[in-house]
Subunit: 318 residues, 2 copies
């Protein structure tokens, strides 16, 4: 019988689990709530218990697993298998995750950050077509990313490689939570899109439903902006144009620097679909030199929520 992989996608509200074949086919999945009380001290024991419970349920033994891979928020030391500074888990001190999970389950354990494992997932079984050179960016509450080159994740000297959200696209632009200005995240995350809308609304004089709703003090989401743009709202179209300009500039420079086969756009904001993708692509083409323009594609993510568990599981294959 073929051995299996176990993937875990740990988030601030739930931990998702999946059992997969070595080919990446999901065979079982489940999830548990993340209990962040008591400085997140229940999280790892809960994960161990849930794994052991499900192994019993499926009549499986630890020896039947190649390994467990997990994606997590925070700063990860992949070699030591530790995590620190995952604030939505209440993990402020160093967590020896690998040690505890290996001891608790008897299965080898591998770990990386959540954006990196999502990149591995989309590269392996999603829009990346399992090519060796793939860049993934996720446009959610923040903007994250992961870079796979020569078939390997890039980490850099301090683990910050792939932090695409903090690429400077607008020197002197909006201030970012990281302390500098003009980060991609300030204009292309879900809150960034709304920030751009508010700024442009101030200088906008024409007729626009988006303008009217902002002036009324309504809560506007990134999705509202894209929906209104799809209905040809003038201001919303201008906002989408500016946001996709910055995304196209960032993707263009990732292309000029790394020339991956694909740059994959995922996360909540990418729910705007082809409407977003085609506009990013058109600026991407403006900002890339001919050989990159012709060889690097801009695609939407394909795996949605499953990218995390699938990519996490793949950590055990390396």
């Amino acid at each position: 019988m073929d051995k299996k992989l176990l993937g875990i996608d740990l988030g601030g509200t739930t931990a998702k689990f999946a059992i997969l074949t070595p080919e990446g086919e999901v065979q079982q999945k489940w999830s548990i709530d993340t209990n962040i009380l008591d400085a997140g001290s229940h999280i790892v024991p809960d994960i161990v218990e849930s794994i052991n419970h499900h192994l019993e349920l499926y009549a499986m033994k630890p020896e039947q697993f190649i390994g467990i891979g997990m994606g997590t928020p925070g700063s990860v030391d992949s070699e030591k298998g530790t995590v620190i500074g995952a604030y939505n888990l209440n993990w402020t001190t160093l967590q020896p995750v690998k040690e505890l999970i290996e001891k608790g389950t008897g299965i080898s354990f591998y770990i990386d950050n959540d954006a990196n494992v999502a990149a591995l997932g989309e590269r392996w079984k999603g829009a990346g077509d399992n090519e060796p050179d793939v860049v993934f960016m996720t446009l959610g509450t923040g903007v994250g990313g992961g870079i796979v080159m020569n078939g390997q994740l890039l980490h850099g000297v301090a683990g910050c490689a792939g932090e695409i959200g903090h690429v400077t696209v607008d020197p002197g632009g909006f201030e970012c939570t990281c302390g500098k200005r003009g980060c991609l995240e300030t204009v292309a995350s879900a809150t960034g899109v709304v920030r751009v809308a508010r700024q442009m609304a101030e200088e906008y004089a024409g007729g626009s439903q988006l303008k009217a709703r902002l002036d009324n003090g309504e809560d506007i989401t990134s999705k509202d902006v894209f929906d209104l743009a799809k209905e040809k709202d003038d201001l919303a179209l201008m906002v989408v144009d500016r946001v996709t300009f910055f995304l196209g500039l960032a993707c263009g420079n990732l292309g000029n620097t790394l020339n991956p086969s694909t740059i994959i756009i995922g996360g909540g904001v990418s729910g705007a679909g082809e409407f977003l993708r085609s506009r990013v692509e058109s600026y991407f083409k403006e900002f890339t030199f001919p050989q990159v323009r012709e060889s690097t594609d801009i695609k939407l993510a394909e795996l949605g929520n499953e990218a995390g568990v699938i990519g996490a599981a793949s950590l055990a294959l390396t």
Copy 2:
């Protein structure tokens, strides 16, 4: 007896050769003129003849070599060992370099483009301290670069990874030979620095020797601009500030994306030394988020002309 490496740095005017230990110590070096006549058809035979001649001179046999590595202009297919489109060599059709050199010398042959092998050289024996993650950029007639991550050169899907000269730093800026606008090369190559000087001189009204020399129609070089800036010429200082702003932005985004231990600046323009480096570093710090700011260094290249032969030789070690 230890086996040796043979490195070749092929350029439009000369081909440099070196025999090295596997530790990268140069033991012999020589060079020959590059004869680009007859569609560059003499180049490879001349290289073969020169190698065989020097092996005879040093009483060495092909079996004493681990391999030959070469850096070349043009588009390189490292796996097939072919080159095309190296216009300063007159190589417009596909050149089966590996096949001819292996046949002519009886030694295994490896090839990559000149900026990539210079990156390998500086990473191995120069400012890169042999760390796994190092970015190299060369500011010369054009701006080139090479990226080593996880100890490996990045090539990308069409061999364009590391083309740092075509990163867009100024959307809507100067037109580049590549067809797009605002490439780093248009403002930070030797000709780019002069281009920035000419543009800024047009709007400059104060007293400046640089302005006077440009208005007199004198031929100004990038070195002149930096020399005048070092003498506190007002316009020259403004030009250097703008050029280093763009270099700092490009380096910053390389840092935010890849988080290498070092970004190395080489090439003729880097002859301006610490005066240039410190200014690039200060903009780099403005454009990077804290963890990258603290972990990625900006350094000047250390090997000068030898980076090419040393890095080329290292190709034979992989």
